[in-house]
């Protein structure tokens, strides 16, 4: 087990290194950062001084090493536009996005998995067919369009919920959270539902497929022969057996939820990192783009690592160090 953990850690470090090189090349080497930094009517002396100051006269590999060195010390540069350290900026926006993403993944799990198990348990019933039709819609309809319809229905026509912004937050450990007050929850509701629909559709499909397969297996036959009720079988055996692939997808989907939050945050003006990256792209704020991408890559690698380790705990074949 320990060997497996160390092996996965080294792998993750390599992936991070590759990602940092790609992001660096992508954002700094394509296009000319000097044009953004220096106004076109600056004198030749100022130009050269600035280029030297940012180390842009150095060969590319040296620039990359310097970038990497600063990165390891947690220095991601300063935002061109806001003149705040990027790390500070991204971290101050991160809780809003994490709260949104976590809420929507939880909505997806607590509604999607039971619905999917039911649809797999009674595949021919009309309710199951309705669930599956809804999940096809959830898959196909673009997130931004669902967001618009949610605003139109619940904010404009019915006037039940606010259409955007984050509303009041409660400070805990210096970070503001929405889910602790009723008012905050009202602001959180629409964006979280919007973001959860895709996960919901996916979890329904996965748990339905898993349940259908397992219901035909010997495990279930024996459990039935032992006189267990169907509900106990579903809860004790089916749920546990479908949990292994679900954890993987769940983890990976959490990452993509962070990415799709870009769209949801823009529609609902939710002040998270997704809105930050769209703003920095439109204002050509390169350090913020790089900082965001590096942090997202880091989150992804960490999530993949955690998913693999959870897998190892859940799957006894991996736990004993055997290869599957």
């Amino acid at each position: 087990m320990l060997g497996y953990i160390i092996q996965r850690l080294i792998q993750s470090a390599f992936v991070m290194l590759a990602m940092s090189a790609l992001v660096f090349l992508g954002v700094y080497a394509i296009g000319n950062p000097i044009d953004v930094l220096i106004s076109p009517d600056a004198t030749q002396d100022i130009r050269e001084a600035t280029i030297r100051h940012y180390g842009l006269d150095q060969p590319l590999w040296r620039q990359y090493l310097a970038f990497l060195g600063r990165l390891l010390q947690g220095d991601l540069g300063r935002s061109f536009v806001l003149n705040i350290p990027v790390l500070h900026l991204v971290l101050s926006r991160l809780p809003a996005t994490l709260e949104l993403a976590l809420t929507s993944v939880l909505i997806g799990a607590f509604i999607g998995i039971p619905l999917g198990i039911y649809a797999g348990y009674r595949p021919e019933s009309p309710a199951s067919k309705a669930i599956m039709a809804a999940s096809v819609l959830g898959f196909s309809v673009p997130t931004f369009w669902v967001g618009l319809i949610l605003i139109l229905t619940f904010a404009v026509n019915l006037d039940w919920l606010p259409a955007g912004d984050r509303g009041p937050t409660v400070e805990i450990f210096g970070v503001g959270w929405s889910f602790l007050t009723w008012d905050g929850l009202r602001f959180l509701a629409l964006p979280a539902i919007n973001l959860s629909l895709f996960k919901l559709a996916m979890l329904i499909r996965l748990s339905r497929a898993g349940t259908r397969e397992i219901m035909l297996s010997d495990t279930v036959k024996f459990a039935r022969a032992a006189g267990l009720t169907d509900f106990t079988i579903l809860r004790r055996h089916v749920l546990r057996l479908i949990s292994i692939p679900l954890v993987t997808v769940f983890g990976l989907e959490f990452g993509s939820t962070l990415a799709f939050a870009v769209v949801t945050e823009t529609i609902f003006s939710w002040p998270g990192v997704g809105k930050l990256i769209i703003d920095s792209i439109t204002s050509l704020d390169r350090p913020v783009m790089v900082g965001y991408l590096i942090l997202v890559a880091f989150l992804f690698v960490t999530i993949n690592l955690v998913v693999d380790l959870t897998y190892a705990v859940l799957d006894p074949r991996l736990r004993r160090g055997r290869r599957v």
Binding site: T143, F144, W145, A163, I281
Partner: protein
């Protein structure tokens, strides 16, 4: 082929979806012929007609069945022209991604060794990274326009084709007919092109259908975020974005109708793809 078509028609929902796709594509192709105005010829626009609800008879003397937008453009015409652009981008990106991904996947399966590992590592790494983020960053780096947008869509999507082609090719390569072809003096290239590739096509066609729908959806999302095509070439996503600001004041038709067109198209393509998947799946064969 006739048998395939007969089986397809047994599923009336899929048949309806196919009809919707054909109808939308035909309407988009024939847009200049069937729309009452060219929505991007400024001489046709009259600001007195702006933001009129559906059914309004404008200064042009014809009925705006779906209303008009903020510039007095007939929405029905704007939607058909927008569909043209959305479909063009979706099909172009899908085709390039199909070609690139399939070549990489089949190459990896045939060459093996270090190259196989390298290609598939890259593909797997990319598949674990959300497509929308990749597309977003690329569009931000390369700027607006058709070519950058297609590059971004292809980069976000080729990996799905590569995975599928690789999976199909490794499975097919172990079958006897490839073994038999290898025993003949045929050059390796023609075994791959004439025997291996055609037999890998069914799963690739399914992925291709779904990916065209995804490309259209992704393009609409990028355009909605203001990162897609320039405003002179408005796709459906941009039409929806333009109407968004009028939604709060109750002028919902400007966003809602382009959105309905977009969703009809995407859902119909996905249903067709689902049906093809079922028909190609040998396990569901009777």
């Amino acid at each position: 082929m006739a048998q395939f078509w007969r089986e397809y028609r047994e599923n009336w929902i899929a048949t309806l979806a196919l009809a919707v796709v054909v109808l939308i594509v035909a309407a988009a192709l024939a847009a200049p012929l069937i729309t009452p105005q060219d929505p991007y010829d400024l001489a046709n626009l009259n600001l007195r007609d702006a933001r009129r609800p559906p059914g309004f008879v404008g200064s042009g003397g014809y009925v705006h069945w779906l209303g008009t937008d903020a510039q007095g453009r007939d929405l029905f015409s704007a939607i058909l022209y927008g569909l043209r652009i959305s479909l063009q981008m979706g099909v172009a990106a899908g085709a390039v991604a199909f070609g690139l991904g399939t070549s990489l996947g089949i190459m990896a399966a045939n060459i093996g060794g270090k190259i196989e590992q390298g290609i598939m590592r890259l593909v797997d790494l990319q598949l674990s990274f959300p497509a929308i983020l990749l597309a977003l960053v690329l569009v931000a780096m390369l700027g607006q326009g058709r070519v950058p947008l297609i590059i971004a869509l292809v980069t976000a999507q080729y990996a799905y084709f590569a995975r599928t082609a690789y999976g199909a090719a490794t499975a097919e390569r172990q079958k006897d007919y490839i073994e038999a072809a290898r025993a003949t003096p045929l050059p390796g290239r023609s075994i791959v092109l004439r025997h291996l590739l055609p037999n890998c096509m069914p799963p690739l066609i399914v992925v291709g259908t779904v990916q065209i729908a995804n490309a259209i959806s992704l393009e609409a999302t990028l355009s909605f975020l203001g990162l897609g095509l320039p405003p002179t070439e408005p796709s459906l996503g941009m039409l929806i974005a333009n109407g968004f600001q009028y939604m709060m004041s109750g002028r919902t038709w400007i966003s809602v109708y382009p959105g309905i067109a977009l969703i009809l198209l995407i859902v119909a393509i996905n249903i067709v793809g689902d049906q093809l998947r079922d028909q190609f799946n040998p396990r569901l064969r009777r």
